[in-house]
Amino acid sequence: VGPVDVVSRGRSRLAVGVRRRAKHRPRRVVGLLLLLALAWAPGCGRGADHPAALKAFLVDGPGSGTWEVVGLAKRRTTWIAPHPDDGAWLLKREATRDGAGRPCVALRGTVAREFLEAPWELFARNYVARGPARPETLPGGEAALHLTWVPRRAGGETARHVWFDAGTGAVLQIEDVAYQGQKVRGIYRRSTGTGELDPERLRPGRPGGEDICVQTEPESLSLEALLQLAPFPLVAPGWLPAGYERIAARFEELDDVRAPGEEPVRLATLLYSDGLGLISVAVAVRSDMDALHEHMARVRPDAAMPSDGEPGGCATLPPETGPVDLGSERLLRRRTDLCRTVLRLDGLEGVSVTLLSRNELAGDEYVKVMESLGRVTAP
């Protein structure tokens, strides 16, 4: 009896084990399939490729919805919607300014460049993601994953913080924070709504051909072309902070700086970036640069930001007046506050140069850029 009993118990245990495995196999398979599906789902949660999602934002433009771009001295809201027929284009409409709210058909790449200026390639070369993504809840209640990109170079200052949708992996907001802690720029998706944009207007037979603008890549000249266009000696920095490159060069004639009917202000502009930071340089003859400075001195912060003051926590210095004794020495005139530095140099090769920055680097770096200015004779 004993051995039989043992055998029977053993059999029964084995049989139960088999039954248990058989009973739980479908549930486990389903669970495994679910996990696999979650892992392979495009842009999904923790498994999402965040650098790829950031690249998609910077190269292809933001997803549809209402986006707010907060800069140094302004806040702008833009509605974005996909083009109904052509994936290479987006529809956008500025919601902030009255009278300028025409819908635009915008080439995808131009929208992110409008928000952030610098090209993705330069950012990818000079910045690297640091640490794992941290789960956070955004003020709107959205579950997000927060990842930070820091400069590859030692001693880098400004970092880019990006929040991704915890579910889809898409970019929800971006903030660039300088080394002193001030926010340089921010991009936020405020809602998924596309405001007053009506993609149906673009369908054949619908109204709305003439009042829809087309936004393509802004023109950027080579130094050689700029040299030909500028009616004054062109100067440019020969030294740049590590990682910085020229990303744009333009020649502009500004009609609104002087009184109507007077000569326009002619300006050669150069823009440098390391993928995140920006250094903007303007070159003009002295009288034109004086006119530009006088014009900008009249622009008060409240004109740029009617109600909220300057975003980014930048308290503006009070407008002071009082001549500075320039003497005969070559002086670099500087005006700086927490969020920006403006440098002006006169008398170099007969022109005046102004540098505009957002304090994304230590102040000495900008002075060194101005010290390296030299005449451009051949690109």
Binding site: L72, A73, K74, E94, G99, A100, R102, E117, R152, R153, C213, V214, Q215, T216, P218, E219, G238, W239, A242, G243, A248, E252, L254, D255, D256, T269, L278, S280, A282, H293, M296, A297, V299, R300, P301, A303, A304, L317, E320, T321, G322, V324, L326, R330, L331, L332, R333, R334, R335, D337, R340, V342, R344, T354, L356, V367, K368, E371, S372, G374
Partner: protein, 151 residues
């Protein structure tokens, strides 16, 4: 770029391999050191220290004597030293050119040629973040088209 830039370290002087002092050398060195401290002129002190550091047995009077070169050899020695110096300069130059990275930093010598003065009359350019944007702003304000690079 900076991460890829090779760091050029200053050349360190070659050190003479350590060796045991011959009998009497330690005493000679100590004597030369005392003489150097007591020497009345810098020139003499320099000579003494040179002799002491070379670990050569010094004459009994404590002063290192210059190597005597025969008169007919002097022009030859002078020419040889000039050639050696020229060769060293050439070698150094070629190495610098080869090792120098192609970074824009290298094209310009940055000198502190400007004096920086804080000037409250310089505007802070409110509402403008780059000059490129200023130009586009001007264009969009003056025409109803609006928009960056729009037509």
């Amino acid at each position: 770029l900076e991460a890829e830039t090779p760091v050029l370290e200053p050349r360190r002087p070659r050190r003479t391999p350590a060796r045991d002092l011959a009998p009497g050398e330690a005493e000679v060195g100590a004597l030369l050191g005392r003489l150097a401290r007591a020497a009345p002129s810098d020139e003499l002190r320099g000579r003494c220290l040179t002799a002491a550091s070379a670990d050569r047995p010094a004459p009994a009077d404590g002063y290192a004597r210059p190597v005597l070169v025969a008169g007919w050899l002097r022009p030859l020695a002078l020419a040889a030293s000039v050639l050696v110096a020229f060769g060293a300069v050439q070698l150094r130059g070629s190495q610098t050119a080869r090792e120098r990275p192609s970074h824009p930093d290298e094209r310009v010598v940055v000198g502190a040629t400007l004096r920086v003065v804080d000037d409250p009359t310089v505007p802070l350019f409110h509402g403008v973040e780059t000059f490129q944007e200023l130009a586009l702003w001007d264009r969009s304000m003056s025409s109803p088209a609006g928009g960056r690079g729009s037509r």
